[in-house]
Amino acid sequence: MSEKKSTSTAAVKKESLPAFEQTTAIEIHDLVVKYGSKRAVDGLTFKVPTGAIFGFLGPNGSGKTTTIKTLLGFRQPDGGSARVFGYDVASQSLQVRAHVGFVSETNSLYDFLTIPQLCAFCRSISLEWNQRVVDRYIGLFGLPAREKVGNLSKGMKSQLALSLALGSNPDLLILDEPTAGLDPLARHEFLNTLVSEVAAEGKTIFFSSHILSEVEAVSDWVAIIRKGKLVLCDELDHLKQTQKVVKLTYTELPPATEIEMLNSLPGVMSLAQEGRSVRLVAHGDVDALTQTIQARPYALRGVETVDLNLEDLFLEYMKEKNDGR
């Protein structure tokens, strides 16, 4: 049974219509966020569809946390815009936060409070609160219900933070490196609850991580950010189906002009040559590409198409492109 709390000073009500955008949870457009003169986020543009589990990947210092902080109104954008469920993050931050459950990277909680006291605290600063939901998750995780927060292990604190974030019945969960510092068992439990309980209820989950394997296992969508710029954003399945490595083995050493020609073919993202072996990373219609190559006058002993997993893709995109792509 959800209880609505009306606050004396807050004139903000959690709107469910009409401003609430139903299909796109997050929309970022040309976002620029600066730290002094340095651009931590540099012209970022992508969308997060409602109901998706969206993994936001990138090396440390690439701008992930800055992006998240801007979405939640901790910082103001220096350029561009961002919307959460249609609400502008700069001017309608209260509305944004009314629909979002957030767990920060460090996940610091008030150690001197007990779990019930912390719940009461969160309830007092939320617009909507359902203690039954929080209790259910606390039970699911097996947390000691009356314990002092400071006595909990790191894994338990993460679980508690997630439970609390869900107490305000958010439509979107934003998690900044939620499993960082957790042992494999705790990490697995956390992710499992995330997919089997939270995602199954239709909530959108936007989480940043630098642990590829977990992003790969649970994400529908993946975006990779590097030095503040978007490197790719796609459905993970689509990414895996359209990005392939093509290995060519020539009978004789192909001339440099042919290599150049290969590099310039549409869909070819990168090329590496070692004697008669050429390794292409291609995206799009890879079958058409291989047909084009096989139609070339240079005899091929072998053509092999290899699938790429997320790690392969990530490494590929993190490489500096020779032609500046």
């Binding site: 606050t7 000073t9 807050a10 903000v12 959690k14 902080k69 939640l72 109104g73 901790f74 910082r75 103001q76 209260l94 509305q95 936060r97 009314a98 979002v100 957030f102 920060s104 460090t106 610091s108 909680l109 008030y110 001197f112 409070l113 006291q117 009461a120 605290f121 969160c122 007092s124 600063i125 939320s126 617009l127 305000s168």
Partner: protein
């Protein structure tokens, strides 16, 4: 949120409160014992100006008690409490990382800051009132019952004055990320505002002087001027802190 603020501040409040109570009770209870010793103090060690003040303050129980608590100990203890409370309000959250828990919720920054300020102010008021009540009780037991009206006005004036320290500490708490610097800055500035009080003919420029109006305590006059000054000076750092906190990036 109020409950959490109170729980967080409990030890600061309790320790300062106990200290305050002890000081009040001691000063109120020992006048008769100390009076002979005080009036015989050698006058060569102190500058003429101060010596006159001391003589005046020890001449009667009321003045002694006022001088001891409202003019000196109370002001100092409550100033320390105000600075300690204020310094931790924002910087404490930032240094522990819990600020993100607050900022991520759908409450305005104004409400966060003002609620914290209000709770700290209430704690100051509670400690001050408790001390004043102890003063009244002890004085009555010692045989020198004080004027309740004067005590009440003085307590309120003192609290209002201390809000300046609280506001100052809060302002620095917004500017700095650690708790120590706001604390020191607030205390140092407060001490600076008290210095004119020690310079002959400059006492009108001592801010802390306005927190403890002798005339008001004795029931001689209503300290309108002092109240206004204290109010204005209390509000200024608060408004500044609010403006800055609104724009602060985390």
């Amino acid at each position: 949120m109020v409950v959490k603020e109170l729980i967080e501040a409990r030890w600061k409040a309790i320790i300062c409160g106990l200290l305050a109570l002890i000081l009040v009770v001691v000063s109120a209870a020992t006048y008769d014992l100390l009076k002979p010793a005080l009036s015989n103090t050698s006058s060569q060690q102190m500058p003429q100006f101060l010596q006159q003040q001391v003589q005046q303050l020890t001449s009667s129980y009321n003045l002694y008690v006022w001088g001891n608590w409202f003019s000196k100990n109370g002001t100092e203890i409550l100033a320390v409490l105000a600075a300690v409370l204020g310094a931790g309000l924002i910087a404490g959250e930032v240094s522990k990382g819990t600020i993100f828990l607050l900022l991520g919720k759908p409450i305005s920054r104004e409400r966060t800051l003002l609620t914290k300020y209000a709770v700290s102010a209430l704690i100051l008021l509670a400690v001050a009132m408790l001390s004043s009540m102890a003063l009244l009780v002890t004085a009555a037991i010692a045989g020198h019952p004080q004027q309740i009206g004067g005590v009440v006005i003085s307590t309120l004036l003192l609290c209002l004055g201390e809000l300046f320290v609280l506001g100052l500490a809060l302002l620095f708490s917004v500017l700095f990320k650690d708790v120590l610097r706001p604390l020191l800055c607030a205390l140092i500035i407060t001490i600076l505002t008290a210095i004119p009080g020690f310079i002959p003919n400059w006492s009108a420029w001592s801010l802390t002087g306005y927190w403890s109006s002798q005339a008001a305590y004795l029931g001689q006059e209503f300290p309108t001027k002092a109240l206004i000054i204290c109010l204005v000076v209390a509000v200024l750092p608060l408004i500044l802190a609010l403006t800055l906190f609104r724009r602060q990036a985390y």
